[in-house]
Symmetry: C2
C-alpha cells in the first residue's frame, strides 16, 4: 500500500487554531489545490462538477487515541465516530465547492477548505449526489453537538483540521 | 505516509463483474465490515449514525490511466472526474447505511456495499449531512450518464468497484 502525493493544498491556515473544521464552515475563504504536472491530464472533465471530494494526508496529525474529544463536544467519543484528524490513517475527506478550474495549470480554486496550508493531496473524486447526498441521515452525537465551526489547539497543535 | 489496515470487508462480490458501482446500487445486499480487535474501542458512539464513510484500499485495482472510460459512459474521462477504482492512490470512498452495529465483536452490518470481498479497510468516518450532503450539486458528465449500476470487467478484472 504505497501512497503517492498528487498535489498540495494552498490555504489561509498555518496552524490548527482557527482552521474551519469542515469546508462548509470556511465562509468561502479562497483556497486552491495545486495538482502536479504529471497528474494534470486526469483533471479532464472535472469542470462540470460543482463539488469535489478531496482526499488528503493530514501530515501534521501525529499519533492518535481511539477515544477523543471532538471539537463540537465535551466528552470522549470513539475516533471513528468523529472527523478528528488524529486517527489510525490520517486521511482527510473534504467536500469542496469549485470556484474555478485551470486544468492546464493544474490549479483548482475552491470556496473554502478545512486543510492546513501545504497539506498533501492524495486523490480527487467527483461529488455525485446520487451516491453521496443523504440530507436526512441521522448523525448521532453530532445532531446535538455544540455550534463549533473552527478548530482550537486541543490536538496539541499537532492536529490538522 | 504509512497506512495501516484496520479491518476487512465481507461482501457477496468475488469479482468485479456484477459488483455494484456504488453502495446505492447494491439493492440492500447484506455485507459487513470486520474491524480488528486493536481498533474496536474506536467504534464507540458510531451507533447513532445512520450512515458511515468507508475508506478502503482497492487492492485488486492495479495500475491506472489518467484517462479512462467510466462504467456509466462510453468515452474517456479524466480519472479524477470518475470514481473508477484504478487511480494513482486506489482509495475507495463508500457511503454505507448501517444495519446493525456489534461494537464489542467489531462487526458492522451494512445495507449494501460496492467493495469486493476481502477489501482492506483504512478508515471509518461518520456521515454528517451538514458537511457531506449537497443533493443539488451539479455532477457534470454523470448527470447525463448511462443507467449502469453494476460493474463489468473493463478494468481487466483487475479493478475493484
Amino acid at each position: 500500500m504505497n501512497l503517492v502525493v498528487i498535489g498540495v493544498a494552498h490555504t489561509p491556515y498555518k496552524e490548527q487554531q482557527g482552521t474551519p473544521i469542515a469546508p462548509v464552515f470556511a465562509e468561502g475563504a479562497p483556497a486552491s489545490l495545486e495538482i502536479f504536472p504529471e497528474y494534470r491530464a486526469g483533471l479532464a472533465d472535472l469542470n462540470g462538477f460543482q463539488r469535489l471530494w478531496v482526499l488528503s494526508w493530514l501530515d501534521r496529525a501525529k499519533g492518535y487515541e481511539l477515544l477523543t474529544v471532538p471539537y463540537r463536544d465535551t466528552v470522549k467519543r470513539g475516533v471513528f465516530a468523529t472527523r478528528a484528524p488524529r486517527r489510525p490513517n490520517p486521511i482527510g475527506l473534504s467536500c469542496v465547492e469549485v470556484e474555478n478550474m485551470d486544468i492546464e495549470g493544474g490549479i483548482i480554486s475552491v470556496r473554502g477548505i478545512d486543510l492546513l496550508d501545504g497539506t498533501p493531496i492524495l486523490d480527487l473524486k467527483p461529488y455525485i449526489p446520487k451516491a453521496d447526498a443523504f440530507p436526512e441521515s441521522r448523525a448521532g452525537w453530532f445532531d446535538q453537538s455544540l455550534e463549533v465551526e473552527k478548530a482550537d489547539d486541543r490536538f496539541g497543535n499537532r492536529g490538522d483540521a
